[in-house]
Subunit: 338 residues, 2 copies
């Protein structure tokens, strides 16, 4: 089959890569559309030391399965496949199984190919209201919904989402459904416009976005020192940048919470003394639950169509990867001809 | 009055330093015993850019007050004095008031002197069962109790306390009252012996202590990869060392919690990608509640007598500071002659 393979530090479009073999309990899925994620771009730089077929965001149709219940169904798929026998898997937390494989990231060939395999337990049927292209966003959107599994955000909490990349735009839209006081901060006017069109307040700027962290917002805790005050109850770092944590520390209030979504190569400059002195809670957040993501897409609560920068046929996968890596790119999709 | 003053990068024992003036709502406290904390040693290295009388751990007797309710009482005192007018102070969180002063740390002369002032609201009367020397431990012990205000540790949770310095020994004793599965890890056999004498399991080693993080403890989550597994539900970093966070990340399980007690000069080498991928929660923890600390000392639940390395008369404060800075030192006290 055709597949985009990363091996020996080289990205190759192969035409006769072996079709993956289905293990017991698994399904064989024919990929229809796949999405390029920042993690794919990081892997090509050496992150995770993965070799094999790239890609973990996809829509597909089940062509073989174990139980017979999935045949012919259009599906999205969770990317972590647990060993099935450990305490984590038994607790329903296969995402953290130490023996897990991760589609296109660790120990399992991915979605930039004509076929992939996943355990049936990872599959989610897609309702008709979600197109193949929209469904590629289920996986990253689930990662945004993970935040709501981890922290309790109420309508009165002030939240700042840092970063207007793909995950930042999804996260801002998810959290806008929870709080009246949301600010999305980023560096790209045209990306923030997608949020503005949905009534979300935005701030344009660099690591310290314009219009926040300044005096205008300090009325809640106006001490007498006149120093810059930290403001937000929650700050979500979706910058994808090693400097995101430092920016988040500039914006969170004492005893506030920072949700870290960014995995970045290299170490991050951050004054962790501030975490101690201000008693900040810092929560790492990764993959999330598919059902609320599918439901939100079916109800058109999240705008993903405006987040598609380009669609390439699979034979142009190299061009697609370059397009995805360009400054300002949002989601780049690969479509599989039949 | 006599006072140990840090100014112009120099530590001086002065004999005619001005006695502090009591503001409205404050009390004048005659210091009887004071304790030297790691923070004092850090300040002398430049941490917090503080100048003035050092010291924030003390026992004293109230000689003047505003309300008349404290006169003659033997007291311990909380070290953060809020502005009294901001939202934080109104919420009872003066610890985080942006306009706060902190005894001997920020904007307020400290306890290494014959007299200090604090708001009456900061004072706690000491029961007779606690000696002046023991009461010096109320403040650091309260910082250990702060952990229980922040996280819910149950009897089945596995907890590792990293670091066998003053705060590590107090923290291990506090948490040993909550869980059956506690391990205190440190580098000093003689310090860990204080915990062993109280039935607490210990591990001797460096950043990766002997006997933990190895295969012997992995039975709970035995994946199939054979890689080193992370084990503890909670890890508390009391190392006081910039490498403590990295060691804590080696020991905590996915979705586990690290409590950061260490403020260290300089940035810390730590792979924060692990926080994201393993969805770790990292909680900064600072000063804590005095009442449970006073109660625990009164009930002799915490052994602090064995943590006193040396007692110096105040005139030998310079020698005392040197003794406290020595490798292996635990608590060094200063006593005030009358």
């Amino acid at each position: 089959m055709k597949a985009l393979v990363f091996k020996d530090n080289e990205l190759r479009l192969e035409s006769d890569y072996p079709r993956p073999r289905r293990s017991r309990g698994e399904a064989l899925v024919r990929v229809t559309v796949a999405g390029i994620c920042a993690t794919d771009l990081e892997i090509v730089k050496g992150y995770m030391e993965f070799e094999g077929v790239l890609g973990h965001e996809f829509t597909g149709v089940v062509e073989e399965d174990t139980s017979g219940r999935w045949l012919g169904k259009r599906v999205a798929g969770e990317i972590n496949a647990g060993c099935g026998g450990c305490g984590w898997c038994e607790a329903g937390l296969a995402n953290h199984c130490p023996g897990r494989t991760v589609l296109g990231i660790a120990g399992r060939d991915g979605a930039f190919a004509e076929y992939l395999t996943l355990p049936e337990a990872n599959l989610h049927a897609l309702p008709d209201g979600i197109s193949d292209q929209e469904a590629v966003f289920v996986e990253p959107l689930a990662a945004a919904f993970e935040i709501l599994e981890q922290v309790d955000i109420s309508s009165k909490d002030s939240v700042c989402v840092l970063g207007d990349g793909r995950l930042g735009l999804l996260t801002a839209q998810v959290l806008a459904g929870r709080t009246e006081s949301l600010l999305a901060a980023g560096r790209h006017r045209e990306k923030l416009a997608i949020l503005q069109a949905r009534g979300i307040k935005t701030a344009l700027g660099g690591a310290r976005p314009v219009g926040i962290g300044s005096k205008q917002n300090v009325s809640r805790f106006n001490g007498e020192t006149g120093e810059q005050l930290h403001e937000f109850d929650f700050v979500v770092d979706c910058t994808g940048d090693a400097g995101g944590l430092e920016a988040a520390l500039d914006l969170v209030r004492p005893r506030g919470t920072i949700i870290l979504k960014t995995t970045a190569a290299g170490q991050r400059p951050a004054d962790l003394n501030r975490v101690v002195v201000d008693e900040i809670t810092l929560i790492g957040s990764r993959c999330g639950p598919f059902p609320p993501a599918i439901q939100a897409l079916a109800k058109k609560e999240i705008d993903v169509k405006n987040m598609i920068s380009a669609v390439f046929p699979f034979d142009e996968a190299h061009r697609a990867m370059r397009a995805a890596a360009q400054q300002g790119a949002l989601k780049v999709l690969l479509t599989m001809a039949r």
